[in-house]
C-alpha cells in the first residue's frame, strides 16, 4: 500500500521536474572569484554589485545604453538646490512580501551613510533623507549635486522591518571580518531571489515571480560558481558545464573565437588597473628599508613608473586585450582628457639614477600585495612587474592572495605597495578622483586611497568639483587634479581593461562597459 503511494509520489515528482525542465532556463555563470557578501552596502566591488543588482534595486538604474532610467523611483524633481524629491514606484514588494515604502528608502539611504558602509563614494554630498509621504522621499544634499542620480544607481534599497528583525540595521563591517545575517541572506525587491548561498562554492538565485518589471529574457534561475583556475573555468565552458564566463583568460580568446560552440562578446571596460604606494607611514611596513619610507619621495615613485613597461604588459600578459594608460579612469568617464593620457616611456637608466639620487643606489626590497582572482591576469601582472622592477634593483616580494582576504587587508591600509582596479559606475570623474586621490577624510573622501596620497591642491580641485555644475568648469577641475597627481606620480596606472565575455553559442547577453551581466536581459535558447 505505502509502496504504491511512494511510487505515485515519485512519478508525480518526476513529471513535475520534467514539466519544469521543458521551459526552465538556468543561467550557469562563472568567474574567477566569489561574491564577497550579500549585504548590499558592505562591499563596493564590481562583481558584488553586479550580483546585488539582481536581488536589490536602487531608486534609479542604468539601461542597456548605460543611460539613467527610473527603477524604484518613477520620477524625481529638485525642490531646491539642496533637496531632490523622488516619487516611489507603487505596488512594489520585497521578496518576503512586505511592501516597499518611503520608510524603507529613507532607512536604506541612512544605512548607506553609516560608518561601516563601503558605499560612501556614492553618498558624496548626500546628508540624509526624509519621508515626505508614503510614496515620496526627499534626499538632502550639501548644495547642488550634479552627479546625484549617477550616484544613486548604486545605492540599493533594503527593507527596514527585515533589517530590524535580523539585527542588520548597520552594514556588515567587512574589513574586520564581521559576519551578519545580511551577509548570507537577502531580501530585496529585485527580479531574482536568493535561494541558497555557499561561500566559494555556489550561489543560486531564482526568479521573483512577483517582480514589478517586465522580464525581457527567459532566465528563471541563476547559478553562480566561482572557478579560480583559468584552465578549469574554460574547460567548464567548453564542455557546457557553465553557460557564461565573465572573465575568460586573455590568452584563450583566439581559441574561443574559433570554437563554434562558444561565442565571445568584447568591449572596453570602464575600469583602470594601477599600483599604489604607502605614502603616509614614516617607516615602510613591508620593506627592507628601516627608519624611512622611500615611497614618500617622488623620485622613487617616478623610478617605479619608469621601470614598468605597460606596453610589454599589454602584449605579453594581456595578449593585446588592454588599453595602456597614464590616467586614473577610462575614456568613457566624463572629464577624461586624451591630452593627459600619454603613456610614459620606460627608461631603466633614468629609473636607476632617480633611485640613486633618492638614496637607494642598491635598490631595496618591498612586498607587493596583489589579488589573484579579481582582475584579469592580476597575479601575472604583478609577477611581470616584479621582474621589471628587479631590473632597477628593486626586489619585490609578491604577496598574492584571494580577493576576500585581499580587500579586507588593504582596506585597513595594511599595505606598502598594492594593486587595485577602479571602475567608475557613475561615469563621472568625481567618483574616481574623490575615492582614489582625495586625502583620506570624511564620507567618501579617499575611501580607496589606500596609500594615503595627499596633495592640498588636488584636494581643493576635487572639493570644488563636488558642487560645480558647469560641465566646462568640471572638466577643467578634473584636468587640474589629474595633472598634479600625474606630476606627483601618486599612483602608477597600468591600463584600462578590455573585457571579453565568453558564453555558449545559445546564450545572448547585453555587454556593458561596467562589466555587469544583467540576467533579466539574457536569453538562453
Amino acid at each position: 500500500m505505502s509502496a504504491t503511494i511512494v511510487l505515485r509520489a515519485a512519478t508525480l515528482a518526476a513529471a513535475l521536474a520534467f514539466g519544469a525542465a521543458a521551459d526552465a532556463k538556468t543561467l550557469r555563470w562563472s568567474s574567477q572569484g566569489d561574491i564577497l557578501t550579500m549585504d548590499p552596502h558592505a562591499q563596493n566591488e564590481g562583481l558584488n554589485n553586479a550580483v546585488s543588482d539582481h536581488i536589490y534595486e536602487p531608486l534609479v538604474t542604468r539601461g542597456k545604453d548605460l543611460k539613467i532610467e527610473p527603477c524604484l523611483a518613477t520620477s524625481w524633481k529638485a525642490v531646491s538646490p539642496a533637496a531632490t524629491q523622488f516619487k516611489l514606484r507603487p505596488g512594489v514588494r520585497f521578496h518576503d512580501g512586505t511592501p516597499f515604502t518611503a520608510d524603507d528608502a529613507v532607512f536604506s539611504i541612512e544605512r548607506a551613510l553609516a560608518p561601516t558602509s563601503n558605499f560612501s563614494p556614492y553618498m558624496q554630498g548626500i546628508t540624509g533623507a526624509r519621508k515626505v509621504d508614503e510614496q515620496t522621499v526627499e534626499i538632502a544634499t550639501r548644495g547642488p549635486n550634479p552627479v546625484l542620480l549617477a550616484q544613486l544607481t548604486e545605492v540599493r534599497m533594503m527593507s527596514k522591518a527585515w533589517a530590524a528583525r535580523h539585527n542588520v540595521l548597520k552594514p556588515q563591517d567587512y574589513k574586520n571580518k564581521e559576519e551578519t545575517y545580511a551577509s548570507r541572506n537577502a531580501n530585496g525587491t529585485g527580479p531574482f531571489v536568493l535561494k541558497s548561498r555557499e561561500a566559494d562554492v555556489k550561489t543560486v538565485l531564482v526568479l521573483n515571480s512577483n517582480w514589478w518589471g517586465k522580464m525581457e529574457g527567459n532566465v528563471n534561475e541563476i547559478v553562480y560558481q566561482p572557478i579560480k583556475q583559468d584552465g578549469t573555468r574554460l574547460a567548464a565552458l567548453l564542455s557546457g558545464e557553465v553557460d557564461f564566463v565573465l572573465d575568460p583568460p586573455p590568452q584563450d580568446i583566439p581559441r574561443l573565437k574559433k570554437d563554434p560552440k562558444v561565442k565571445v562578446v568584447e568591449g572596453n571596460e570602464n575600469r583602470t588597473i594601477f599600483f599604489g604606494f604607502d605614502q603616509w607611514r614614516d617607516e615602510l611596513q613591508y620593506a627592507s628599508v628601516k627608519g624611512k619610507n622611500p615611497f614618500r619621495d617622488q623620485r622613487v615613485r617616478q623610478a617605479f613608473q619608469l621601470a614598468i613597461d605597460v606596453n610589454a604588459l599589454k602584449t605579453q600578459v594581456m595578449r593585446g586585450l588592454s588599453t595602456p594608460t597614464a590616467v586614473m579612469f577610462a575614456p568613457q568617464v566624463d572629464g577624461y582628457d586624451r591630452a593627459l593620457d600619454a603613456v610614459t616611456k620606460p627608461d631603466r637608466e633614468r629609473a636607476r639614477k632617480l633611485l640613486a639620487e633618492a638614496g637607494y643606489p642598491q635598490g631595496f626590497e618591498v612586498t607587493l600585495d596583489c589579488p589573484n582572482n579579481r582582475y584579469i591576469n592580476d597575479e601575472k601582472l604583478c609577477q611581470a612587474t616584479a621582474a621589471m622592477l628587479a631590473q632597477v634593483n628593486v626586489k619585490v616580494r609578491l604577496n598574492a592572495m584571494p580577493r576576500a582576504t585581499y580587500f579586507a587587508k588593504i582596506q585597513k591600509f595594511d599595505t606598502s605597495f598594492y594593486m587595485l582596479g577602479w571602475g567608475v559606475p557613475t561615469f563621472d570623474s568625481l567618483y574616481a578622483l574623490q575615492s582614489l586621490l582625495r586625502t583620506v577624510g570624511q564620507g567618501g573622501d579617499g575611501n580607496f586611497n589606500l596609500g594615503k596620497y595627499s596633495n592640498p591642491k588636488v584636494d581643493a580641485a576635487i572639493d570644488a568639483l563636488k558642487t560645480e555644475t558647469d560641465p566646462a568648469k568640471r572638466k577643467a577641475l578634473t584636468r587640474e587634479a589629474l595633472a598634479i597627481h600625474k606630476a606627483d606620480v601618486g599612483h602608477v596606472p597600468l591600463h584600462h581593461q578590455v573585457i571579453p565575455w565568453a558564453m555558449r553559442a545559445n546564450v545572448s547577453v547585453v555587454h556593458r562597459a561596467d562589466n555587469r551581466l544583467v540576467a533579466r536581459w539574457v536569453k538562453v535558447n
Binding site: Q229, D230, G231, L234, A235, P249, Q251, D252, P254, R255, D309, A312, L313, T315, Q316, V317, K380, Q383, A384, A386, A387, M388, L389, A390, Q391, N393, K395, V396, R397, L398
Partner: protein, 313 residues
C-alpha cells in the same frame, strides 16, 4: 672464499660488489640500467642546478618579459637560447625544470627519511614490546590507513596555515610539506617492521641478548633492526616516488611550495593556464620530467625488491 676475510679492503669490497648476485641482476636488465642512469642524472642535475641549468630562472634581473612564451627551439618561432621554450614570465623552461626537480627531490627524500625514522621506530617498539603498546600503535596506523595520504597532507598543511603567524608561512612551508608527507607515509614502514620484528624477536640471538641482560632499546636497535632493514630499504625507494607525487599534487592544488621556489607540481600548475591557448610546452615538459623521474625511481625500487627477495632469485 678468500675474499671474505679481507672485508676492510676497499678494492676487494668493490670487486665483491661487481661479482655479487645483485650486480649481475642489475647488469642483466637494460631497463633497470636506464632507470638508474636517469635517476642519477636527475639527482646530479638537481644538486648542481646552478652550474647545469643554462639560465637562472629565479634571478628576476635576467628575465625579459618580451621573451615570454617562446616555443621550444626546434619549432618555427623557437629561440636556440631556450631549448624547451620559455614560460609566461620569460623563464627558460629547461632551467625551471632543473631547479624544480631540485625542490621535488629534496622534499621527496627528506619526507621519506623522516617517515622511515618514525615508522621504523614505532614498528620496532610495536613488534618488540607487543601487548597494549602494539595494539595502540597498530590501531592508530589502521585509522590513518583509512585516509588517503593526500588528505592527511592537506589537513596538516591547512592547520599549519591557520596556526602559523601571517607572513611566516612562506619560509616554513617546505618544512611543513615535508612533515605533512612524512606523517602520511610512516604507516607502511611501521607495519613492515612490526611484522619482521615479530618473527625476529623469538629467534635465539635475541633471546641470548635478553639473557645476558641487554637493555630492550639496545636489543631493538643493534640486534633486531639490522635484520629487518632489507624490506625497509625497498619500501623507502618506492616511497620516494610516492612522496614526490604527493608533493607535486599538493603543489598542483596550490597548497604546496610557493611559486617563488617552484617544484615540478607548481610548474605544471602554472603551465596549466596556458594549455588551452596552445602554449603546451610550459606544462607538458615539467609533466614529462615528473613522470620520468618517478618512473625511474619506481623501476629501481621494483628491481631492488625482486633482487633482495630470496624467493624470486
Amino acid at each position: 672464499m678468500a675474499g671474505e676475510q679481507a672485508g676492510g679492503n676497499a678494492g676487494g669490497a668493490l670487486h665483491r660488489f661487481f661479482d655479487s648476485d645483485i650486480f649481475h641482476s642489475f647488469k642483466g636488465s637494460p631497463v633497470v640500467v636506464i632507470a638508474a642512469v636517469l635517476t642519477v642524472a636527475c639527482i646530479l642535475a638537481a644538486t648542481f642546478a646552478p652550474w647545469v641549468a643554462p639560465h637562472n630562472p629565479f634571478d628576476l634581473r635576467t628575465l625579459n618579459l618580451l621573451d615570454a612564451f617562446t616555443p621550444p627551439s626546434w619549432t618555427e618561432r623557437g629561440n636556440p637560447a631556450y631549448l624547451l621554450g620559455t614560460d609566461d614570465q620569460g623563464r627558460d623552461v629547461l632551467s625551471t625544470i632543473i631547479y624544480g626537480s631540485r625542490m621535488s627531490l629534496v622534499v621527496g627524500l627528506l619526507a621519506t627519511i623522516l617517515a622511515m625514522i618514525v615508522g621504523v621506530t614505532l614498528g620496532l617498539v610495536s613488534g618488540y614490546a607487543g601487548g597494549r603498546i602494539d595494539a595502540f600503535i597498530m590501531r592508530v596506523a589502521d585509522i590513518q590507513l583509512s585516509f588517503p595520504a593526500i588528505l592527511i597532507a592537506l589537513l596538516i598543511d591547512g592547520v599549519a596555515r591557520a596556526v602559523l603567524p601571517k607572513g611566516s608561512h612562506d619560509e616554513v612551508v617546505v618544512y611543513v610539506l615535508i612533515l605533512a608527507i612524512a606523517a602520511s607515509g610512516w604507516v607502511g614502514y611501521a607495519r613492515t617492521v612490526r611484522g619482521s620484528t615479530l618473527v625476529e624477536r623469538n629467534k635465539e640471538y635475541v633471546q641470548a641478548a635478553r639473557v645476558i641482560g641487554r637493555h630492550p632499546v639496545a636489543i631493538m636497535f643493534s640486534h633486531v633492526l639490522p635484520n629487518v632493514l632489507g624490506p625497509v630499504l625497498v619500501l623507502a625507494t618506492l616511497q620516494v616516488g610516492a612522496a614526490i607525487i604527493t608533493e607535486s599534487s599538493l603543489s598542483f592544488l596550490g597548497v604546496g611550495v610557493p611559486p617563488t621556489q617552484p617544484s615540478l607540481g607548481t610548474l605544471i600548475r602554472v603551465g596549466n593556464d596556458f594549455l588551452f591557448s596552445g602554449e603546451w610546452w610550459i606544462t607538458v615538459f615539467p609533466g614529462f620530467a615528473l613522470v620520468l623521474l618517478v618512473l625511474a625511481i619506481n623501476v629501481l625500487g621494483d628491481w631492488l625488491r625482486d633482487a633482495l627477495n630470496p624467493k624470486l632469485r
